[in-house]
């Protein structure tokens, strides 16, 4: 025990003596949370739209009014023809174009379901998708009004309009910041766990100090526990620090138990520390360790459901994603923080990550050798 304690003390001494470490540990979470939570958002504002209206009717006017009145759209140009609409897209003056053909109102009056044309610039598929979603909801809204008007025009009839109200549970205003912040916390803990552990042990190899340790009677488990615990502590400390910032700056709610999150985080760190240790046995220089960690980190983050929903990925990718520890943590932290889920709702994730951690640490310990 004394040996392990002293080992941990030595690690902390080295970590904090490293001049770039302290700023990294404290500045990285602040900057990442500040930049990413504000920057990474799916809310689109000011979609530039061109409107060609060849109908000049009050009905078409009502439809265009929906766009001019929406905070999501900015009408950048208007015209009367399809060609003008196309032109606006070609010249990059608009992200999308709406073309209302002649006879639009007449068609509606005759219940002929007239057509409008929508053109999107899909170079950025995300923008096009979101624009399309917003447009659809505006047009649906417009149709609702039309039906009501037409029906209202008929005498003595009752207007059976379904009134749809929306209510977004657990994040009522659909605030992206609340959604992103927990995910970014996970990313932070992950980068600390994976990068620092791998690099730290490889550093001992690179400097040759591992030789000097290996000839001492220090046992394998003492070395590993001594090497990994500082990063477990730093990782959890980083999480606590990040949560504090998320709470103070974005008002992210803590609906569920903080202890549940920390318990999960501790198990999660075991997975990462195991991976870091495995990476360190596979590499000989800090550079190699860095590249290898980076490779895994990018895949883990991109597939974690942080930016795009896991559910929309192809089946094979979802299958691979079962081995992505980030996915579990992001799910758990969002559930516990935003929804206030208790043990019952997250216990499956706990079992999975616990088993994952045991496997990773065992493999890592088996691979680590004191003798060449």
């Amino acid at each position: 025990m004394r040996t392990i304690g002293f080992f941990i003390q030595k690690e902390f001494l080295q970590i904090f003596r490293n001049r770039s470490m302290l700023p990294m540990i404290f500045m990285v979470p602040i900057i990442q949370l500040l930049v990413l939570t504000y920057a990474v958002t799916y809310e689109m504002k000011g979609i530039r739209i061109h409107i060609s209206d060849a109908d000049f009717s009050s009905t078409s006017g009502q439809l265009t009014g929906k766009f001019t009145g929406s905070p999501f759209f900015v009408v950048t140009s208007t015209g009367t023809t399809h060609e003008e609409a196309e032109q606006a897209l070609h010249l990059g003056k608009a992200d999308m174009a709406l073309n209302i053909p002649e006879g639009f109102e007449r068609g509606i009056m005759r219940s002929e379901s007239p057509q409008v044309e929508l053109l999107y610039n899909a170079v950025n598929a995300n923008v096009a998708g979101l624009s399309s979603a917003y447009t659809s909801s505006l047009i649906a809204d417009f149709q609702g009004n039309m039906i009501a008007d037409l029906m209202g025009g008929m005498q003595g009839s009752i207007i059976p309009v379904a009134d749809i109200t929306y209510s977004y549970w657990y994040n009522q205003e659909m605030d992206y910041k609340l959604f992103m912040a927990p995910g970014i916390l996970v990313m932070l803990v992950t980068s600390i766990g994976l990068f620092l552990t791998g690099m730290n042990i490889v550093r001992e190899k690179e400097m040759g100090t591992i030789e000097q340790i290996n000839v001492t009677p220090v046992k394998k488990y003492q070395f590993i526990v001594g090497k990994l615990s500082p990063f477990l502590i730093i990782g959890l400390g980083e999480l606590a620090f990040g949560m504090l910032i998320a709470r103070l700056m974005f008002g992210v709610p803590f609906m569920g138990s903080i202890w549940l999150i920390f318990l999960f985080a501790a198990l999660y760190m075991l997975v990462l520390l195991g991976m870091g240790l495995i990476i360190s046995t596979l590499t000989n220089t800090q550079q190699q360790a860095m590249l290898l960690s980076w490779f895994f980190l990018v895949i883990f983050i991109m597939m974690s459901g942080l930016f795009t929903p896991v559910e929309s990925m192809p089946d094979w990718a979802q299958w691979i994603d079962r081995f992505n520890p980030l996915t579990y943590f992001i799910r758990v932290i969002r559930l516990v923080m935003l929804k206030g889920s208790g043990w019952d709702e997250v216990k499956d994730q706990f079992y999975i990550i616990g088993a994952y951690g045991v496997v990773m640490i065992s493999v890592a310990v088996m691979r680590y050798r004191k003798v060449g």
């Binding site: 004394r2 040996t3 002293f6 080992f7 030595k10 001494l13 080295q14 003596r17 490293n18 400097m207 040759g208 100090t209 591992i210 030789e211 000097q212 340790i213 290996n214 000839v215 001492t216 009677p217 220090v218 004191k370 003798v371 060449g372």
Partner: protein, 304 residues
């Protein structure tokens, strides 16, 4: 001699893929001896040392260290051995004192307990004890490394090229320290590429290409040198060595400082060489019979 009073290696083999690093290495070193492995870079010294200190497993053969088997009792071997690798491998970002405390603690001891062992060495670097180890000069690094290797009171000290890259004064000091440690009864195994250091050992083994060529006291190795040895110089040294190598009676000829050291085939005499060189128009010719030093012996063995 009882097995717990000596280190015995029997038929050690070690290969890295295709390269045979060690081939049939055997030796025995009695307790308390200062034993040197002398050989050029790549001879296999570091590999042998890493096997001795249980960092590497041999392919074949056994090593018994004072009654402990290097493989079976590796834990006990580690407890009683102090190892100083060829490359400085202490924590460069920890201070002198922190390094020493760290190694003392993981061996379950304290600086105070064994201070008497390192006093002579450590007192020289103690004024810099707050300085990071990476910022020490070469000689001071060696002293710190030796202190760290000694702090747990080892019975055996294994030093891999401790004086490589260290200035002449520090080298001399270092060997004096080894002499003092020997007086305390510590067995010391040291390797060096410097021939002049060989004569400071009790016994040396000349090692090359993974094989031990000869093991003996420095004096015996020198006296076993059979053929007479000549030191030759002339005004054109480059031409001289080329000519000597074409001389049919030359056994060996190599540059040694300002002279060329020459041995001849048993039948030839010094006069034959003089005659041969005069024909080749050498001027300022100087030829002396000299007594060989250990480097001559080594060169001689290498030629065989």
């Amino acid at each position: 001699m009882e097995s717990n009073q000596q280190i015995i290696a029997k038929g050690i083999f070690k290969s890295y893929k295709d390269v045979k690093a060690l081939e049939d290495i055997s030796f025995s070193i009695p307790r308390g001896e200062l034993f040197g492995f002398i050989g050029p870079d790549g001879a296999g010294k570091t590999t042998l040392f890493r096997i001795l200190v249980t960092l590497l497993l041999q392919d074949k053969g056994e090593i018994n260290l004072f009654g402990l088997d290097s493989r079976r009792d590796f834990r006990k071997v580690r407890l009683m051995t102090g190892y100083m690798p060829g490359r400085f491998s202490l924590y460069q970002d920890l201070s002198v004192e922190e390094n020493l405390t760290f190694f003392a603690t993981i061996f379950g001891t304290t600086i105070k307990e064994n201070y008497h062992l390192i006093r002579d060495i450590y007192s020289q670097i103690e004024p810099f004890k707050k300085r990071p180890a990476g910022k020490l000069s070469g000689g001071m690094k060696q002293k710190l490394a030796l202190s760290c290797a000694l702090i747990h009171k080892p019975e055996l000290l294994v030093l891999d090229e401790p004086t490589t890259g260290v200035d002449a004064v520090s080298r001399k000091e270092f060997w004096e320290m080894l002499g003092n440690l020997k007086k305390l009864g510590i067995t010391i195994i040291v390797s060096t590429p410097y021939m002049d250091e060989a004569s400071l050992c009790d016994r040396v083994a000349l090692i090359q290409d993974g094989k031990i060529m000869q093991t003996d006291t420095p004096a015996n190795i020198v006296s076993s040198y059979s053929a007479p040895l000549y030191a030759i110089r002339s005004e054109k040294m480059h031409k001289l060595i080329n000519d000597l190598r074409t001389f049919p009676e030359t056994a060996s000829a190599y540059t040694f400082g300002q002279y060329i050291h020459l041995t001849l085939t048993p039948t030839a005499k010094a006069e034959d060489v003089v005659g041969f060189l005069s024909e080749k128009n050498h001027t300022g010719l100087e030829i002396n019979t000299i007594s060989p030093n250990i480097e001559d012996c080594f060169m001689n063995l290498m030629v065989k």
